[in-house]
């Protein structure tokens, strides 16, 4: 493919699409399975936000750490966490990423640099400062990315971490995934500044805002600030403006939304459709190639659900294991 106008080679574009599609179908399927009553606990879906996690994670290696949120499935998949392990975890099975002890809100895989989804808003920001400190200390070139929502951007831990990262010149990227809502509360109510760039500037950190439904915009902006951080240039702040397709959690009636908002989002702000239109329109990936990926993804998800359902529950002794390393 000689006339590829994109900043990524075709195989990387295929990889990005596969990741986004895997996240989407993972979440769409959970939405269905949750409604059947098969999935315990709280589930927060990332559908609609795929371009953010994927666009950023395309720049990362296993040595780079991310700290995720309660809405963490997309970050996990984009960072390379095993889909079967994730699905089994969400079903509470012993084969899950955390042996069924963590659940949707606590999926982690440290070997992939995934430091955990998190049930506590803003908790990832100080932790990723620590991850970045460790990388800087060892000089391994690793960076740390902390994700948080527009709502969690108001946590003291996030704000303190921004100052700490600036003061210590840590390779940390603060990513606010701005989907406009914290549960039912609008960002217009809860965040006083008009621009996160202004807020970042107040901490002495450069900030950039991108259209988070545009994979390429996220990818480009993230690439620059991650490179800068790797080279010792210090922290940066990235705002991805995006939409969430589902409710805050499964079971949310979403009466706080404007009429027609969800339909409008699905029709015009679907990052996967937008990606496909651009890359397909440029003739870089054909419809047949997209469809082949779609089919493979559907198979992956179907298999993960079937396995998760069949997998064994943790045995009683698991209750008491892994509280300490030694005791």
């Amino acid at each position: 493919m000689s006339n590829n106008p994109f900043p990524l080679p075709k195989e990387k574009l295929l990889e990005a699409y596969t990741k986004m599609k895997t996240i989407r179908e993972f979440e769409e399927r959970l939405h269905v399975e949750f409604a059947k009553g098969d999935i315990p606990g709280f589930v927060h879906l990332y559908a609609g936000e795929e371009a953010s996690g994927t666009g950023i994670m395309m720049h990362l290696e296993d040595k780079d750490r991310i700290a995720s949120t309660h809405r963490g499935h997309g970050h996990c998949i984009a960072k390379g966490v095993d889909v079967n392990g994730m699905m089994a975890e969400i079903y509470g099975k012993v084969t899950g990423s955390c042996r069924g002890k963590g659940g949707s809100m606590h999926i982690a895989d440290l070997s992939k640099g995934m430091m955990g989804a998190n049930g506590i808003l803003g908790a990832g920001a100080p932790l990723i400062c620590g991850a970045a400190l460790a990388s800087k200390y060892r000089g391994d070139g690793g960076v740390g990315i902390t994700f948080f929502g527009d709502g969690a951007s108001n946590q003291g831990t996030v704000l303190e971490s921004m100052n700490l990262a600036a003061v210590w010149n840590l390779p940390v990227i603060f990513v606010v995934e701005n989907n406009g809502y914290a549960e039912s509360t609008s960002i217009d109510y809860a965040v006083a500044v008009d621009s996160y760039i202004d807020r970042a500037a107040g901490f002495g950190i450069p900030g950039v805002t991108v259209d988070g439904t545009d994979f390429f915009a996220v990818h480009e902006a993230a690439g620059e600030i991650i490179k800068r951080a790797r080279e010792g240039g210090g922290p940066a702040f990235l705002e991805c403006k995006m939409v969430r397709f589902f409710g805050h959690f499964e079971g949310d009636a979403q009466t706080y939304r404007a009429k027609g908002e969800n339909e409008e989002n699905r029709a015009n702000k679907d990052c996967i459709k937008i990606f496909r239109k651009r890359v397909g329109g440029a003739g870089v990936i054909s419809d047949a190639e997209f469809e082949k990926i779609d089919k493979a993804v559907m198979h992956t998800i179907e298999e993960s659900v079937q396995r998760a359902k069949k997998d064994p529950l943790p045995s009683a002794k698991e209750l008491l294991t892994d509280v300490y390393v030694s005791y």
Binding site: K101, G103, G119, T185, A190, L319
Partner: protein, 335 residues
């Protein structure tokens, strides 16, 4: 007039009555009305499980304040406002989130009165969900009552039913000290007779949920129901159990506990919290100190294990003390 009311509705009613009675009562928390700044409905949530639904319609956004997701700031603001003459009831959605803002509670609110030589009071109520059974995993399921109870200056309440919840919450709001009001999420839909009018239940008065002669179970919150279930089973075995619902953990009604143990000579303390330095261990220690001579057998504790709360339903069901485990412990004291 009494009606059958769920604990959730009883809490809502207590807030409503106190806000009507006292203009210094304000409430605040994340999504306690919901939909703030959004284009859809106002009062879209009324709290994450709808406990505060309808209050913004009655009292307006000046007294029903949605907050940014900044617990240190708004819980601290509630504490500060309380020290300056308001009576804020701040919701901390899940009391597990206490970790974020604990300084404002245990180093500030709890200490003002003493540290300032008696010249301050902090009539704030921090209310929120506690307890397991929701499959909500390690950071949304804890029973942190012992942590709060440990701190001098804090009062700690944990009702087991809608009637008590209403009376204790009204008392909490009128009380001039900081109160941590612990609502078990698995009791929100549990309903009992609740009078429509206002009433208070004094702190430090346990309730005898079931009278009995052979053994005493001391507990609180959801575990009261498990203890009563165990008592039913044991009644068939001719073991006549007394169940004491502490209702408030600080202050604690040791008199009622000791009087009961002096009658039965046997004690099982049941706690959904982790075992070390728990309400159960505290009750047992106090009884040993004050009523050792009355004991016919060694006391027993039934608690969660010394682990975080697991996610998988099979493990969580093992984690939370069961009626069967409570019954077995009582049998143990009968030997």
């Amino acid at each position: 007039m009494a009606r059958i009311l769920s604990m959730k509705d009883a809490i809502n009613e207590a807030l409503d009555l106190e806000m009507r009675r006292d203009p210094t009562v304000i409430i605040m928390g994340e999504d306690i009305a919901g939909g703030a700044g959004a284009q859809g409905e106002e009062d879209a949530w009324g709290g994450v499980l709808g406990v505060t639904k309808g209050l913004i319609g009655k009292y307006g956004a000046k007294r029903v304040m949605d907050t940014p997701l900044s617990e240190s700031a708004y819980i601290g603001a509630a504490v500060g406002a309380a020290a300056c003459g308001l009576r804020p009831v701040a919701e901390l959605m899940f009391l597990d989130f206490m970790g974020v803002c604990f300084d404002q509670i245990f180093n500030q609110a709890a200490k003002f009165k003493y540290m300032f030589g008696g010249k301050a009071q902090t009539p704030v109520v921090i209310r929120g969900m506690v307890g397991g059974g929701f499959r909500a995993a390690a950071q949304h399921s804890q029973m942190l009552t012992p942590l709060f109870t440990h701190i001098p200056g804090l009062k700690v309440v944990c009702p087991s039913n809608a009637y008590d919840a209403k009376g204790l919450l009204i008392q909490s709001i009128r009380d001039n000290d900081p109160v941590i009001f612990c609502e078990h999420k698995n009791l929100y839909t549990h309903a009992v007779d609740v009078p429509a009018e206002s009433y208070t239940i004094p702190f430090g008065e346990a309730a005898i949920s079931r009278e009995g002669k052979s053994a005493t179970i001391v507990t609180y919150g959801l575990m009261v129901h498990r203890a009563l279930e165990a008592a039913e089973t044991l009644a068939k075995e001719k073991i006549d159990v007394e169940v004491i619902d502490l209702r408030t953990l600080s202050p604690i009604d040791l008199d009622t506990v000791i009087e009961s143990v002096e009658k039965t000579g046997r004690l099982v303390a049941v706690d959904e919290a982790n075992p070390r330095c728990s309400i159960a261990s505290d009750v047992i220690a106090s009884v040993m100190e004050h009523a050792f001579k009355a004991m016919k057998s060694a006391p027993r504790a039934v608690t969660a294990p010394h682990t975080p709360v697991p996610f998988s339903p099979t493990l969580e069901d093992l984690y939370i003390p069961s009626a069967a485990a409570i019954a077995e412990a009582v049998r143990g004291t009968m030997k």
